[in-house]
């Protein structure tokens, strides 16, 4: 063993903890190297001290054994607490974002569409009432990244040239809603009065409806709009279930890039209050968007709907996403 390697054994000499092999190596090297011998001779004083059990005990008392930190003790350290708090905060934010995004992607028409319900009203008053309750649609970032045109929502109703047509179609649809009671119609008019409608150019008497009645009216009106539910099947197919209001003619079109396929319902069941539940199944691959149209009357060529629009009827576009679509 050379001198540098033997020097590393010096620390074990004074404490008397060298093995026999280490001793032989160290002492042989010390006979060959004077510096090593001198170091060992100097170490003799320390060895003498450490040979005393009392001195050892005193030194050991000054060297307390490091305490093993338990997992609970580790967690209680400030750094660990900060890390845990950060993780918890990130988790809360992540869950909130996930819930927000899943809600934004849900292809179900919600209560916000109450404003589009075919509430009976004079055609000349409709635009004012609609203009008050219109709100800009929320578009998520993922939807903005889609190559397809942004959602059209009901904002299109605010266009002046379509207002008259829409008002007429809604009025005709209202006439076919035979299941709605007179009380509901009366409450609906009261709601319109609350919104601020003007009848005949004269400010109408607008009695405030009680909150419970307002909620009931809104619920009744929500039943009149189609409810679409898009699900992903295990076979790669998508299942679209649309509950359309009574009196409306439902058209469903799947958009694949620049082409449009008109979907035919595999199953159609008559629901309560004259509603119809139609079920469509189609391959999910390649489908960019699914357009729903509910028209007051049937048209001869539904394939012209994407080009000509809903013509005052109901229109909604849903974006099927394989990753986020729920399974049935």
């Amino acid at each position: 063993m050379n001198r540098p390697e033997a020097e590393k054994l010096l620390g074990g000499y004074a404490t008397g903890t060298l093995t026999e092999a280490e001793k032989a190596e160290l002492f042989s090297a010390a006979l060959d190297h004077q510096e090593l011998f001198d170091a060992l001779a100097d170490e003799e004083m320390l060895r003498e001290i450490l040979a005393d059990p009392g001195a050892r005990q005193r030194l050991l008392a000054a060297l307390p054994e490091p305490q093993r930190v338990s997992w609970w003790g580790w967690l209680r350290r400030p750094a660990a607490l900060g890390l845990a708090a950060s993780l918890a905060g990130a988790l809360v934010v992540g869950v909130a974002l996930w819930m927000y995004s899943s809600r934004a992607d849900r292809p179900v028409v919600e209560m916000a569409d109450v404003r589009t319900a075919p509430v009976p009203a004079p055609p000349e008053n409709r635009p004012q009432a609609k203009a008050v309750v219109q709100a800009p649609p929320k578009v998520s970032k993922r939807q903005e990244a889609k190559p397809i045109a942004p959602r059209e929502e009901k904002v299109e109703l605010a266009q002046p040239d379509q207002l008259a047509l829409r008002a007429r179609s809604e009025a005709s649809a209202e006439n076919r809603l035979t299941d709605q009671s007179a009380e509901v119609k009366q409450k609906a008019r009261e709601v319109r009065g609350v919104i601020g409608g003007v009848v005949g150019g004269v400010p109408a008497f607008t009695p405030a409806a009680p909150p419970t009645a307002l909620y009931r009216i809104a619920k009744e009106a929500a039943r009149a709009v189609p409810i679409a539910n898009l699900e992903r099947m295990d076979s790669g197919q998508a299942r679209l279930t649309v509950t359309s209001p009574a009196g409306g003619v439902l058209y469903v079109a799947a958009r694949k890039g620049s082409t449009v396929d008109l979907l035919t319902a595999q199953q159609s069941i008559a629901g309560p209050s004259g509603t119809t539940e139609a079920r469509y199944e189609f391959p999910l691959a390649g489908v960019d968007a699914v357009d729903l149209y509910v028209l007051p009357v049937a048209i001869s060529n539904p394939l012209t709907l994407p080009a000509n629009g809903s013509g005052g009827g109901y229109y909604r576009r849903v974006y099927p996403d394989e990753k986020t679509l729920p399974k049935p």
Binding site: E5, E7, K8, L9, L10, G11, G12, Y13, T15, G16, T17, L18, T19, E20, E22, K23, A24, F27, S28, A30, L31, D32, Q34, F37, D38, L40, A41, D42, E43, E44, M45, L46, R47, E48, I49, L50, D52, A55, R56, R58, L59, L60, A62, L63, E65, P66
Partner: protein, 183 residues
Amino acid sequence: MPAIPAYARILIKEIATDPHDQTLARLRERIVAFAASRYTREAAEDLAQEVLVVLHEKYGEVTRLEELFPLSLQILRFKIVAMRRKAYRHGEHTQVSVDDLPLAGDGPDPEEMMARQETLERLTAAIATLGERCREIFRLKLQGLSFPEIQKQMRAESLNTIYTWDHRCRKQLLSAMGGRWEK
């Protein structure tokens, strides 16, 4: 300084001719060089001869290097302490009246005990300045663990790692004590 006794010179010659005792000859050479670096040459030779005489007369059966080497260092240290005490009594550094000199007793030398106690205190204070790893190594060594056992205890990759750690720690400890174990 007393001259080297004749029997010691004969002993040296005998050692030099005996292959087994070549180790003793090399040991003497190291002792002389070590003592000469701290005392006079003559005193160094006297110390070496006295160590060899003790080894020859009292520990003739000790032949293994693992036992012979620490034994010779221990004898050397005793001889150095005795030489210092004798020099002090002879008044080589300070002239002291014979009446002021304490009577020699059977117990340990109080001066030596005091020096040892002082060294122990310095050592305790120096250890406290070491890092956590060094203190852990020193603690395990004081508990009697060998380097291979310390390697397992500290889960080091290799034994050489422990050697290196201990070597650095020893340097730090020596530096914290002013470069020498003894004051």
